[in-house]
Symmetry: C2
Subunit: 127 residues, 2 copies
């Protein structure tokens, strides 16, 4: 795993370590009130929408491993694998822009397909 | 967009510019014969399997935009958005390990859900 240091990366990693440590309150201290995040399901605007997006994921998170982390003054990229209750390996990538110690922009990439499949399997098992 | 320079990033970007320019033959010159790539659908082993994975994607690619690119001596991360025939915005992230000028390991992340949805829509339109 590679970790260099940069102002943006410091914030991205602090945020990452907080949410992967199940401390969503602390993670949200690094998220700007007016964050704009392009996530797989669409654009999220504002910290409340962002928290609603991350909250359920943090609840099903059982493990994580950082794969790569790079950044410069304003931008950072982190890639990681996560282990969740429904999906055993769910890697993700985030590209964040940081201003004044907070994440103002985020491009959030992960594959929704295995989560969709797990939901369908659960739904059919319930009927 | 951020671009720093590093030996691994130089290779990652040359590979990226080749395939986003529809030159899969040139892109493959940066792929090691024994590449191991963890892609959304599972692990790909060897250059032939990797080409079979990228080929159909390059054929439906209509545009791309680099979002971020970072690297060090051995590892690079690139994030980008792509425009494809079935999906208008399909962002992707790749974390690659480079040895002797070739990509030997890759973690490839994108969301399969919109491609699955487009396939289903096309299948139901055809019936």
């Amino acid at each position: 795993m590679t970790e260099s240091t940069s102002p943006a990366l410091d914030v991205a990693l602090a945020y990452h370590h907080a949410w992967t440590g199940h401390d969503l309150d602390k993670a949200m201290t690094y998220i700007a009130d007016d964050i704009v995040c392009d996530a797989p399901a669409g654009r999220l605007e504002g910290a409340a929408a962002y928290r609603d997006f991350m909250g359920p994921f943090v609840q099903i998170l059982t493990g994580s491993e950082l794969v790569a982390a790079f950044g410069d003054d304003q931008q950072a990229v982190i890639m990681y694998d996560t282990e969740t209750v429904p999906v055993k390996s769910a890697p993700g990538a985030e590209c964040v822009t940081v201003k004044d110690g907070k994440i103002t922009r985020s491009l959030f990439i992960f594959d929704r397909a295995p989560f969709d499949a797990a939901r369908k399997a659960q739904a059919s098992a319930a009927t």
